[in-house]
Subunit: 293 residues, 3 copies
């Protein structure tokens, strides 16, 4: 497994000397490393967003890529720094939950605690362990140093509770996970769940409820409706997304990450949930549908 | 023609997982490709601005550079994806007009429609064809796959109407094309047109009218006037620019892309157009001056 | 000394075609150059901030790195362009003070004025000398052209006055140098000065005064206090920083670069300066403490 790509994600922004310091440290240790920026614009301290962004792109990277994830509100405290090794990738991150979504998708994870000072910078600060510990380790790892070298195996790591959508009484109840730059609202509802809903209800069409509004248009692409109109569709991650054509669904709906989303099946496209509700003859049994967002 | 540089421009911003996904896909197919970011901060869906940015920098890149332009409001619709090949460069972009300004500057363009699924990702989404189709094709192309492979030749492509400045009755009438990060207003008026105006009128000096204001200072560089003062000058693209020293002309003038700009020749620097107008003895014939912005 | 890394810092932002033009010019001259972005988000024309950012990260880069610093409000005027060569690095920048902080940290500097048109682009604009002169020179230098080639030696360069903290009557008086993306306020007071203050006063604890407020919490890391609380600590540059846990000290305190910061020694942590002041028995001699920020 070649190890020369380093995928870099931080909440440092790009205004200061922080990211440049990381790049310098890595280049100094391994001039052949290919640094690939994931993003440096995670909202400060937003571990959940960072976890979602990583989960949404890491599989596209070459085998051997080392992901260096520095979103670290408790930097310098006793929180540990982890090196996680999966079949294809390495992840270096503080043990604060930021790897939750990625590690739920992987099996056979080898976890280590980064401890070996030999691979840290000689002078250590308490407030920039990304520069002083994590970046040098990523660089040495990319240079071929064996992962055993960096610290002892460990089995525990912090993870946050992953909200899963539910299918219940002919209704999917999910959540908004992420609002992207365009204002598209990505939910935790996978495409496959719509098919389950169709099977259960025998109905073909859907209405989506979010932020007190009903959305009737279920499209195949963003431009399937008039400019500015709301629609929902299967997004590029295979998850249901709420969008407004060439506009921001997030702003239009005043909806944010964590807000509830409900999808019901209806007889004809464009009919309202309320009318349909009365005719519902759905089983009362509650189906839990486990998806890693 | 070596083909290892991939110039990447999108309107994805840098907050999300979109650009990272593109970088991952390319690195996975061709680890030796050099990805060079042009910008990812085109205003969402602003095809005209994207076209202008590309036109303003592409000629500085090495021969063989593959430009991957993903500003794509109608992603997933029936709009085609194009591969344009010129003498020195390749351009991959949706067929939505974003290549208008570049292709007007080039002759001998070979156009293809990207169709060969062999070079797409195995799983295709409807909302992220940049990741699933365009990035992989760029990567394979950079690896040396012949452009014939990607799809059939085509001759038509969407282009938008290019506004050209006019020289008419001793007056240049043009438009603001672009406001840059500093608030400088770049017009579609080339330096050469000022010389035509001088020849026609026999007058040496100029006054520029924009947003209901007259600007008298015609400088050689931004610092040619007092701090905050408005001036106009020949910018780095050879086009007339309106600027305010260490300040924003766009904000001062409340002028945006598309707004009209007029330049008249006057006898002495600093004199007003209105005084001069009465003395005009200009021919009435209308000269159309074709410049690609 | 290998010379293939080019560290790029500008105030161009990332929205326009400016940075892309630089990257293209460099890639065209030396396709093997490794361009490493420092930042392009320096506030327009903010020479002091640019100088501070550069000073805060340059030492982490590999020997031979060429730093190309384009923050250039007087571009196109008669201001010179400099090439500074130190034991480990090269710096190319306009002669406007932007190298002040770096060059104060270095000895044995060889300075040249960039003059040799052979290494400029054939067509020169007056408003984008970064693209037309500085980037090509960086690229040729990275390709191995000797620095003698680019222009004659010079000894003078513009530098700005560097504010130094003072230790006086049991009190450190310093300044805020920089507010980072998190709102942390980085001062010009080095850790070592706290020790001097302890020695002089025999007192162990400190209180920091800034913006009319007293801060009592002196921590080891940002998470050493409750969320939102103000503290001060030794930051990653070895300088005293004022922070608010997972919040912005800059916003909370309404304090900016240049504002005064005072630190006094007190008997017990958490006691106020005013109570202590009366008991002061400090020597009246004024100690000047020279630190390059």
């Amino acid at each position: 497994m070649e190890q020369s790509f380093i995928g870099l994600m931080t909440d440092f922004g790009e205004d200061d000397f922080f990211v440049a310091s990381l790049r310098g440290v890595i280049a100094n240790i391994n001039p052949s490393a290919h640094i690939v920026d994931i993003t440096h614009r995670v909202s400060p301290f937003d571990i959940a967003a960072a976890s979602f962004i990583l989960r949404s792109c890491y599989k596209y990277f070459p085998a051997g890529t080392i992901f260096l994830i520095i979103v670290d509100p408790t930097v310098g405290s006793s929180r540990r720094i982890l090196l996680a090794e999966t079949k294809r990738y390495f992840f270096i991150a503080p043990d604060n939950g930021v790897l939750s979504l990625v590690l739920e998708e992987e099996n056979r994870i080898r976890l280590r605690e980064l401890k070996n000072k030999k691979y840290f910078l000689p002078e250590l600060s308490r407030t920039f362990e990304g520069r002083d510990k994590m970046a040098p380790v990523a660089a040495w790892l990319s240079k071929g140093v064996s992962s055993n070298e960096f610290g002892p195996l460990t089995s525990e790591y912090k993870r946050f509770h992953v909200q899963r959508p539910e299918l219940e009484e002919g209704e999917i109840v999910g959540r908004v996970l992420y609002a992207d730059r365009f204002g598209n609202l990505i939910t935790n509802i996978p495409e496959s769940m719509l098919k389950l809903l169709q099977n259960e209800t025998g109905l073909e069409s859907f209405v989506l409820n979010v932020g007190g509004k009903e959305i009737f248009a279920f499209g195949e692409c963003y431009s399937g409706v008039e400019r500015g109109m709301l629609l929902f569709l299967v997004g590029s991650l295979g998850l249901i997304e709420i969008a407004a054509r060439e506009s921001s669904a997030s702003r239009k709906l005043k909806v944010l990450s964590g807000d509830e989303v409900r999808i019901v099946a209806v007889e004809r496209p464009g009919t309202s949930e309320s009318k349909q509700k009365r005719q519902k003859r759905f089983s009362r049994k509650k189906i839990r549908f486990y998806v890693f967002i």
